[in-house]
């Protein structure tokens, strides 16, 4: 790609999407012609950028508004499917916030083995991947994706199974099953490596609750999972766009949701877990749900008119998150009250890198 084209492309970014869909290709052609004629790339880009801002102020022409409303049903369906997938997660979050070991014990979970970490990684990656596929399925149409992208069609059935699995896991005592030694499967994601690094640096929070290496490995892997998931999402959306003609606006919004969610997870880990307020750390799961749903809803509603059912799903999740957050704050308050007593107590419970046993946890 020539420098002229790159600079002109930067100018096109100032235009609204309807303009880019309609005029960008031919305007790029004109920019190339002007470049061969010797007109400066910066001047051309500035001209486009300035007019782009003016076009944004003018608003969308009526015929393009009509075209956007035609896709509203599909967009609504997509939001519904994405929301429906995360509803069980909100249920899990509500249940987890009041879980006994998170409230009463400073020791918390003892970290997981390689199998558990792998399972968590696979589950999160599958979740992100499946959501993107379901979105593409509904956006492009069932028949189109079946005819032109067989693999995507098969994989897009995964979320249904995943929802059932998440519901079962969320409602089951994992300790009794012997699958997880301590807590629910999102603990590794909550107690991330970044939170732990902050704890080490501040030197104030030494709860001895997390088994050093295991937690770090889990945190790192969960981060890696998020990144792989984000990459997979981007890849699948790009593939869907090129194969079945997904609108570019949707690709961009999905990418924003994915990247934004990863960022919010980072902020919530560092902000909440890093301060060592174990109970409030549970709020990170609702935070993830909130971010994914909130941004997705906000972005889609700004592009398309939302159907009522996704709107209802959204408010349901907001209610669940409210309950989860209050519960988590209550748990955090209890933990804070216990904190001074635990710090004064010497021994393995406040050792940074010692792995506490299950007995000492109780």
């Amino acid at each position: 790609m020539t420098r002229h084209r790159l600079v002109a492309k930067a100018g096109f970014r100032c235009y609204p999407q309807w303009w880019r869909d309609r005029y960008e290709a031919e305007a790029a052609h004109v920019a190339e012609d002007l470049a061969t004629e010797g007109r400066g790339a910066f001047k051309v880009a500035t001209s486009f950028a300035w007019d782009g801002l003016k076009t944004r102020l003018r608003g969308t022409p009526v015929e393009f508004r009509a075209a956007a409303s035609l896709t509203a049903q599909r967009a609504g369906g997509t939001v519904l499917s994405a929301s429906a997938f995360y509803l069980p997660l909100a249920v899990v979050a509500v249940g987890a916030a009041g879980f006994e070991s998170g409230v009463r014990s400073w020791l918390g979970p003892t970290g997981g083995g390689l199998v558990q970490v792998t399972l968590i990684a696979l589950a999160v990656a599958a979740a992100l991947f499946s959501v993107s596929l379901v979105s593409s399925l509904l956006t492009t149409g069932f028949r189109a994706i079946r005819q032109r992208n067989g693999v995507a069609f098969i994989l897009s059935c995964a979320p249904l199974a995943l929802v059932v699995v998440v519901l079962l896991v969320g409602l089951t005592d994992l300790d009794q099953l012997g699958i997880v030694s301590g807590y629910y499967p999102f603990w590794g994601a909550e107690w991330g490596i970044f939170g732990r690094l902050l704890m080490f640096q501040s030197g104030t929070v030494v709860t001895g609750g997390v088994s050093g290496m295991h937690a770090d490995v889990m945190g790192a892997l969960s981060w890696l999972t998020v990144m792989v998931g984000a990459a997979l999402t981007g890849w699948s959306m790009r593939r869907a766009r090129t194969r079945v003609g997904l609108p570019r606006v949707f690709l961009r919004d999905e990418s924003l949701v994915t990247v934004g969610t990863a960022f919010a997870m980072f902020v919530s880990w560092v902000g909440l877990v890093g301060w060592g307020i174990g109970g409030i750390a549970h709020a990170t799961v609702p935070t993830q749900v909130f971010c994914i749903l909130g941004w997705r809803t906000a972005l889609c509603s700004s592009r398309f008119r939302l159907a009522p059912i996704p709107g209802l799903a959204w408010w349901l999740v907001v209610g669940c998150m409210g309950i989860a957050s209050i519960s988590a704050l209550f748990a955090g308050g209890q933990s804070i009250r216990q904190f001074p007593r635990l710090v004064r107590r010497p021994g393995p419970q406040i050792a940074l890198l010692s792995k506490p046993s299950r007995d000492s946890a109780t």
Binding site: G11, W19, R22, Y23, A25, E26, A27, A28, H29, V30, A31, D33, L34, K43, V44, T46, S47, F48, A49, W50, D51, G52, K54, T55, R58, P61, V62, E63
Partner: protein, 118 residues
């Protein structure tokens, strides 16, 4: 009342060129002698008016004219859409040029009086 005023405003916007008159008139004038694509328009305007329009200005005006149905895009040739004048566009250009002509006549007459008084 307000609704009526709004309707009148929308109607007048659809046929008049308003504040987009200058580049729009140049584009419409250029299209009188046949369809042209973006770069062709820029070169033609440069030739007959001695003005070098920015590509952003050109596409801003093209979008506006197309929205008002004063021009229409023909099927693309190698990613370039040639544009042609519509009947409404030709009528709008005729009206606008006539009003410009009236302004030009009045302006010339007043200038002559002013010069005669000196």
């Amino acid at each position: 009342m307000v609704q009526g005023r709004r309707r009148r405003t929308e109607g007048s916007q659809a046929t008049s060129l308003g504040r987009y008159a200058d580049p729009a008139v140049l584009i419409l004038t250029s299209l009188v002698d046949g369809p042209k694509h973006g770069y062709g328009l820029l070169k033609d305007i440069e030739q007959f008016a001695g003005l070098s329009l920015g590509p952003g200005t050109l596409y801003g005006a093209l979008a506006r004219l197309e929205e008002c149905h004063l021009i229409e895009a023909l099927p693309a040739e190698d990613r370039r859409h040639p544009y042609q004048l519509t009947a409404t566009g030709a009528a709008a250009l005729t009206d606008h040029l006539a009003s410009l002509e009236e302004v030009a006549i009045v302006g010339r007459e007043r200038l002559q009086i002013r010069l005669a008084l000196r």
